[in-house]
């Protein structure tokens, strides 16, 4: 067999293998990206958290709770990073939350249901401002929702 035919046979073999490999890829069901990726990664999460904190500070219903924190830039920075890490880790991102547990952080604060609802309202407003789709918004709220029992009435 001439070298020309050998090369042709090899090329045909490579072509068949490529087609089979592509076909197999097409058949594999697509794995849905994590909520972290769908939200847009750390930059998008930090933008939403910045907006959320700004909304909370402008909201007279609850800004008294954050007065001491906002008045001190170091404490405000820590709150922001903790919130970003918490949302990022909850959404399956490469972050580690090392702040206090929600129960520890809110014990003795006597936060009312109305205050909690106002906080959720400010978060939803921030998510809406960045046009976060309904599916992702609900998934995120479902992750944060169970924290309510550790925050309200402690």
């Amino acid at each position: 067999m001439s070298s020309y035919f050998k090369t042709l046979l090899f090329a045909a073999l490579v072509g068949v293998c490529t087609i089979i490999a592509c076909k197999k890829d097409d058949d594999t069901p697509a794995v849905e990206a994590s909520l972290y990726d769908r939200l847009g990664g750390i930059t998008a999460i930090s933008a939403v958290v910045d907006q959320f904190i700004a909304n909370v500070v402008a909201d007279n219903t609850i800004n008294g709770r954050f007065a001491a924190t906002v008045a001190n830039p170091s404490r405000a920075r820590l709150l922001r990073l903790n919130l970003i890490d918490q949302v990022c880790a909850g959404a399956g991102g490469p972050c580690s939350y090392k702040g206090m547990t929600m129960k520890e952080a809110h014990t003795g604060m006597n936060i009312t249901q109305a205050e909690f609802n106002a906080l959720v309202g400010d978060l939803v407003a921030a998510l809406d401002q960045f046009n976060v789709p309904e599916k992702e918004k609900n998934e995120l709220l479902a992750i944060l929702g169970p924290m309510q029992t550790d925050i309200v009435g402690q």
Partner: protein, 155 residues
């Protein structure tokens, strides 16, 4: 000399252990630029004017978020170190007839941590530095002793 070496080993080990316990694990948020929040009483003539002020501020470099609440008349700006409350105020003043006023929040009367957050945040870095320093001192002492032994051998 033995006591000094033993102390250095103990300090190095204790500081390293402390650093391992207190250090913050690597996180995607480590790359983010620090942000401060400044609140203003906008003195806007109507909600539309306040909203227009917020939209204008949103476009400035170094501003990551702006929120205007018509109910409280508060305009809150999240910004990087490019801005200070004073520079923000002067820039906002150029956009409105009534200059906005910086809102001073009164700290809550409840118990607060007596140690400033800045100090608490510096502790892991200090422990790591202490551990490295005592290890270097220990290594220096060992090299010094070996050199001394070699010199006495040749004499």
């Amino acid at each position: 000399m033995k006591v000094l070496k033993f102390s250095m080993v103990m300090i190095s080990a204790a500081a390293m252990l402390g650093w391992l316990i207190l250090r913050k694990p690597a996180s995607a948020s480590d790359i983010l630029e620090p942000v401060c929040y400044t609140a203003f009483i906008s003195h806007a003539s109507d909600p539309e004017a306040g909203q227009a002020l917020a939209l204008a501020a949103q476009e400035w470099e170094g501003v990551s978020a702006v929120s205007y609440n018509a109910g409280s008349d508060l305009l809150v700006i999240a910004h990087t170190d490019l801005w200070t409350p004073a520079t923000l105020k002067s820039r906002l003043s150029t956009l409105t007839s009534t200059p906005p006023q910086i809102k001073q929040f009164t700290p809550s009367p409840g118990a607060q941590c007596p140690v400033p957050v800045e100090i608490v945040e510096m502790i892991p870095g200090f422990l790591l530095s202490l551990s490295i320093f005592s290890t270097i001192v220990l290594a220096g002492l060992m090299v010094f002793k070996r050199k001394k032994a070699l010199v006495s051998l040749y004499q």
